[in-house]
């Protein structure tokens, strides 16, 4: 994959790049609730301080749809879904499909993508893709 040189689509939700990309959020040191994106304080117990949390790249696909109408940063068809991160949060994200059949419950992994309407409007974002079948 070519290097993506573009501003992040949204501040404060990603760290690293390419294969080292991670989502960042928060975990409450008091009650353990995890959040993505990180809120200002714990929305579960009200604790004023939250610890940073770097999420694992792996997640599970909860639902998905392929959209046939244009959106601000996407030309149709594009696929999006909800994934459940290993640490808990349910995240809305683009799902990158390369001929695979998507199924609810399948493991997916984080990847860096570019979104936007062309060369002059290009931002770095995150998506998820199905994990290849386990190597034997």
């Amino acid at each position: 994959m070519g290097e993506i040189i573009a501003p992040d689509f949204h501040a404060g939700v990603m760290v690293g790049a390419g294969p080292d990309l991670r989502l960042i959020g928060a975990r409450c040191p008091s009650c353990g609730q995890t959040f993505f994106p990180a809120p200002m304080r714990c929305l579960a117990c009200g604790s004023a301080t939250l610890g940073p949390l770097t999420f694992d790249r792996s997640a599970v696909l909860e639902s998905f749809t392929t959209v046939q109408m244009p959106a601000t940063s996407f030309a149709p068809p594009y696929t999006v879904g909800y994934v459940r991160l290993s640490e808990g949060p349910r995240v809305f994200a683009p799902i990158l499909v390369d001929g695979q059949m998507l199924t609810i419950g399948m493991p997916v992994t984080l990847m860096e993508i570019a979104i936007g309407r062309g060369e002059t409007d290009r931002r770095r974002a995150y998506g998820f893709r199905p994990l290849p079948p386990a190597q034997t």
Binding site: F9, H10, V13, Q33, F35, P37, P39, L43, A44, E62, S63, F64, T65, T66, V67, Q68, M69, A71, T72, S73, F74, Y78, V80, G81, Y82, G88, P89, R90, F92, A93, P94, I104, I115, A125
Partner: protein, 382 residues
Amino acid sequence: MRDVAIIGIGTSRFGKFPDRRFDDLGAEAVRAALADAGVGPRQIQVAYGARIFLDQITAQVVLRDLGIAGIEMINVENACAGGATAVRCLWKDIASGFYDIGVAFGVESMTTSPMAGKLLAPSPDDIDAKLGSNMPVVFALIARRLMATHGATPVDFAQVSVKAHQAGALNPAAQYQKTVSVDDVLAARTIADPITLLECCPNTDGAAAVVMCSLDLARRLGARAVKVRASVLSSAGYFFRKGDLTSFDAGRRAAHAAYDQAGLGPEDIDVVELHDAFAPEELVHYEDLGLCRPGDAVGLLRSGATALGGRIPVNPSGGLLSLGHPLSASGVRTVCDIVQQLRGDAGARQTPDARIGLAQMLGGNINGLEMGAASIHILERL
């Protein structure tokens, strides 16, 4: 708190009227509601106007040429629940004794809004919106879960639209007065799979209004009054607390509060109008409203109980799918349609001997919350 009644209902034509101004649509609805109530403009003490797109002092502008000015007017926005919010606020004013009589309306000109012909998306700054979320996407993701957890099929979703259009075909006020078949719905182009074009509500211009007063005043006026048994508005909780996608916590919470306030249960409801902006979501609301047990929504639909002539007709107006969905008007329009049912005025769409009806509306889509707002009104024939 005192008892409150609805004594007048009115709607504009629903459809695509890009040449009609919003105030013209709004005035058509309010004028009809005043005439229905037998009340003059100078009797109105307070007014609530709901609208999303796009400028200011909607109530003042709509009511100006009807001869209503100088009273307290409040303009509200609450996504698709804006109209229901206006009704709820008027109910609070009258129940609490601040005012004796007022009007609540909602109006939207979708064809002249910035959303015309687009998929309704959250705020452009919303992280999910930037990644491609919009209303049909949200409900498509729910639909796919319903297929996995409830055994729902694309034919079931199509059947919701078929049912809506059967009712709409009998409703002279509906935007689409024609029936569609399951095959028509499934053959329509896909918007966000499994949702097809005929499973999405259209862009609609329109308005709806109610005149509400204290039950005592309604009796003195000799009006055709319908009593408000419950008026509830709830905002959404945090998305991180949400269980499966196939239920709205705020929808369940509003339903519990409404049944509690009315001293009634779902088994007492004779007819329902609800938010069916996308066909699959109707199944979610069946369960959240307690019309069936959790997990049984598909069975309730397939039984025909929610169709015209069934045990508990849902959206005998044609719903948002067929009647149309002028966003802020819909939460008032559902109340108007329940009043019409309880008065026995619904013609070919009449639920026999309807005594108790429920009008639900919800709206909103933003990261971090499970939705925006949910409102329920339960009304009773006197």
